[in-house]
């Protein structure tokens, strides 16, 4: 496929897309989290559901990402991870993330966020210890990557709400699933 017009920079896209007041986004997410906390009492369960929601969002979001970023192939995990951090976070959340801590065989890395609109004004009460407030992000990444045939496992290794100095997501590539021929060869 022609790569004549290569991937566009995150900033360029962010400048071009429709934007909304971040507070609305932040508060909406917060309200959702709280509703979940009240509905399903157990923090573990909330983490799970948030991740699940994120996954579903990722599935939808990936196409917009590809269309706007003009990325034409996501075969190399390293490359893709970079894309997500540099372009993806920028074009959606307006913040830049960095990719670090590559392991030897290039299947595991960390995405680090210094700044995260999701957690503006958030303060974890004692009752919510163990809550991964931003768990939706990990879900989004997981979902998006799965759509480009990368099965991954995304976990939080640092969380500012728990007193760390940044947010760090560890993304581990489990396997790349090729596209199968969906139909039985009955004829």
């Amino acid at each position: 496929m022609s790569r004549a017009s290569g991937p566009r920079s995150g900033d360029a896209i962010f400048a071009s897309v429709e934007r909304v007041n971040a507070e609305l986004f932040t508060l909406t997410y917060g309200a959702i989290v709280r509703q979940l906390l009240t509905d399903l009492e157990e923090v573990e369960e909330v983490n799970k559901q948030l991740d699940q929601m994120g996954y579903n969002i990722g599935i939808r979001l990936i196409d917009e990402f590809l269309a706007k970023s003009n990325v034409s192939r996501c075969v190399d995990f390293k490359e893709t991870a970079d894309m997500i951090a540099k372009v993806g976070f920028k074009m959606f959340l307006g913040v830049t993330a960095s990719v670090t801590n590559w392991d030897a065989d290039g299947t595991c890395c960390s995405i680090v966020l210094e700044d995260n609109p999701l957690v503006d004004f958030v303060e974890l009460p004692d009752t919510c210890q163990g809550l991964y407030y931003c768990n939706i992000l990990s879900g989004v990444i997981r979902g998006a990557l799965e759509m480009v045939s990368m099965k991954t496992e995304v976990t939080w290794t640092r969380d500012m709400l728990r007193g760390d100095d940044a947010f760090e997501l560890q993304v581990k590539l489990l396997k790349q699933v090729p596209e199968e021929y969906p139909y039985k060869d009955d004829d």
Binding site: L37, F121, E123, P125, C128
Partner: protein, 135 residues
């Protein structure tokens, strides 16, 4: 600095969600309820005023002996009430304004449910600092 200054935040449904004795006087058990009584009673006055004026800062709306009640009513009808014996109104006013900003930060915390007690220690320390600064 005010010798007596009892600061209370009252939610719209008349529930005190934050209380602090910020006066320089040593905190005495036996006046705690008196202060509450005065502020509590003062709300009758606030209620009258709240819908009649649109001003946020209502100074000295009520008094009991030498104690004066000043109130700051937000658009959301949350009432920041101060029971004080000092007389520097603009000090009090700016105290209210800054506390209001802090309060909004609290409100915006999604995990804080409106109308519940404010337990954030950070908030508490900030408020007391402001009290030292302005009252």
């Amino acid at each position: 600095m005010a010798t007596t200054a009892c600061f209370i935040i009252v939610s719209r449904n008349d529930i005190p969600i934050y209380e602090a004795e910020v006066g320089s006087a040593v905190k005495r058990e036996d006046v705690a309820h008196l202060h509450q009584f005065i502020l509590h009673a003062a709300q009758d006055i606030v209620q009258d005023l709240a819908w009649t004026t649109s001003a946020m800062f209502l100074k000295a709306i009520d008094r009991f002996n030498d104690l004066v009640v000043s109130v700051y009513v937000t658009a959301g009808h949350t009432r920041l009430m101060l029971l004080h014996d000092s007389r520097n109104d603009d000090g009090i006013k700016s105290f209210f304004q800054e506390v209001h900003e802090l309060y909004i930060k609290i409100i915006l915390n999604p995990l804080y449910l409106p109308g519940s007690r404010i337990t954030s220690s950070h908030f508490d320390t900030k408020v007391r600092a402001l009290a030292r600064k302005y009252l």
